[in-house]
Amino acid sequence: MSGWTDLLFILVLVIDLFVLASSRLRTGIRAVAAQGGLLALLPVVLADAATATGHVAVLALGALAVKAVGIPWLLARATRESKVERELFPLVSFVASLALGALGIIAAVWFSADLPLPIAGKNALLVPTSIGTVWCGLLLIVTRRKAVGQVLGFLVLENGVFVLGLLLSDFMPSMVEVGVLLDLFAAVFVMGLVMFDIQRTFSSLDTEKLSALKD
């Protein structure tokens, strides 16, 4: 069983790298949706006899609905309407950002050995997956020019935070987690509106154009 759980964590990290390397926005959105689906599986797989079944179910279903279905659908609609197909010239080239992402993940695996968890008996890959995913999300936000790519980066970052949150899921009431998911949904919704505004003003989603604003 632990082999399969490891595989889940590794897949989450591989999807991070895939999103970093893919230039097609639609492929990126699908990959992030798949990552959301994997994250929805995680609370179920990590649950042991002590955890409450209802709590786990709420967490898993909430993540599935928001991360794997809701937000990707919103983003896919936004890309379709703004007719942006791909990220052409990111600030850091795809190969370089892939290498940077890999370095970050390697560092995360390396250093997490020195970060002892207050709660014993958790999967050893949980912390490196979380830190590595946050790093890749940050890299996406910083290096992509198109607004959709930056929103994807935000989602990946949030996924990393979600993984870390699983550590505490035994102690947090499910209302808090539902609130966090709702927050995320609202944030992406607002980002969608902003993207729509950028698109209407500049007829492009290139955020570089925002720096040309003068009063």
Binding site: G3, I10, L17, L98, A102, I106, A124
Partner: protein
């Protein structure tokens, strides 16, 4: 006596089966496209036809051009002795032989490139430049994969890396080995000039990589090159199949049958990849190969943890 027979079977399959692998790929591609496709023996017939022809040599070429195909085939044949080809052991085995395997494949590539440059054709020079730059990116992926296997199985020779050492390794480090297998599969596609990297069926010199280097070879020389390419595909297939199978079958004949079935599955997988994917733009190929290296490196980090 039994071991002798097994080794003979292994060698015979290595010499006879590789063109059939190409035949399987051709059939799969044709089936997916809704055609019947050429018979499985067609690659063998093509080779025999080429052997029957005469060779034409340009006056600008030297002995380097003639040595290319012969040395290339010899290097790949020698590499075949190092890889366990379905039997319990490879024919020649010593600590660190995976480095010699990569070196022999590199030698085969080197003589092909030098022969291509010897013709003085600008197209072939371009192909040669691409071939070496892409293979330079593919090699780290292969070596990181081998190092991961060394770390995981604790052996230093290919017989152990791809044989009995794997059974325990799959139980403990399954996910990491899966990453290595995926990475070596991508390397196999790149090294054998298959589709996401190079299109073996293209006829436009500007976009060809491997095929453009051998444009000037004709007749028996070209047959040697094609045969060598098929052998190389079989070798990479052996790496992927042995890695994926682990040491699941103890009975030698059953193991060999599983190996043969695995090779066919490998060819079918390549055929499906070729049917469903388009060739990547040249500028995107390094990204794929760096991605493969990253996968292998990631596997190594997971194993070192």
């Amino acid at each position: 006596m039994n071991t002798m027979l097994l080794v003979a079977l292994q060698l015979l399959a290595f010499l006879l089966a590789p063109p059939l692998l190409l035949g399987v790929i051709g059939r799969v591609k044709a089936r997916v496209a809704g055609r019947t496709g050429p018979p499985l023996l067609q690659p063998w017939r093509d080779l025999l036809r080429l052997v029957g022809k005469g060779a034409v040599y340009s006056r600008t070429t030297t002995w380097v051009f003639r040595a290319g195909p012969v040395v290339g085939l010899a290097a790949v044949l020698a590499a075949g002795l190092l890889v366990p080809l379905g039997g319990p052991t490879s024919i020649v085995s010593f600590a660190g032989d995976f480095a010699l395997l990569a070196a022999l494949l590199g030698l085969a590539r080197f003589v092909t490139v030098v022969a291509a440059l010897d013709t003085g054709s600008s197209f072939e020079g371009m192909g040669a430049a691409r071939e070496v730059s892409f293979s330079a990116l593919a090699e780290p992926a292969l070596f990181l994969g081998f190092v991961s296997l060394v770390r995981s199985t604790g052996g230093l020779d290919l017989t152990h890396l791809l044989g009995d050492g794997l059974a325990a390794a799959w139980r403990t480090d399954g996910p990491a080995l899966l990453l290595v297998a995926l990475s070596i599969f991508v390397v196999a596609l790149a090294e054998n000039a298959r589709i996401p990297v190079d299109d073996p069926a293209t006829h436009l010199e500007l976009t060809m990589i491997h095929e453009v280097m051998v444009l000037d070879h004709s007749g028996p020389d070209f047959a040697l090159i094609q045969y060598g390419a098929a052998l190389k595909l079989y070798l990479f297939g052996a790496l992927v199949v042995k890695l994926a199978l682990g040491a699941r079958f103890q009975e030698p004949l059953a193991a060999f049958a599983a190996f043969a079935a695995g090779q066919v599955a490998f060819a079918v997988a390549i055929g499906l990849v070729e049917s469903t994917m388009a060739r990547l733009r040249l500028t995107r190929v390094p990204q794929l190969l760096v991605g493969a290296s990253v996968l292998s490196g990631f596997a190594l980090v997971l194993l070192l943890r």
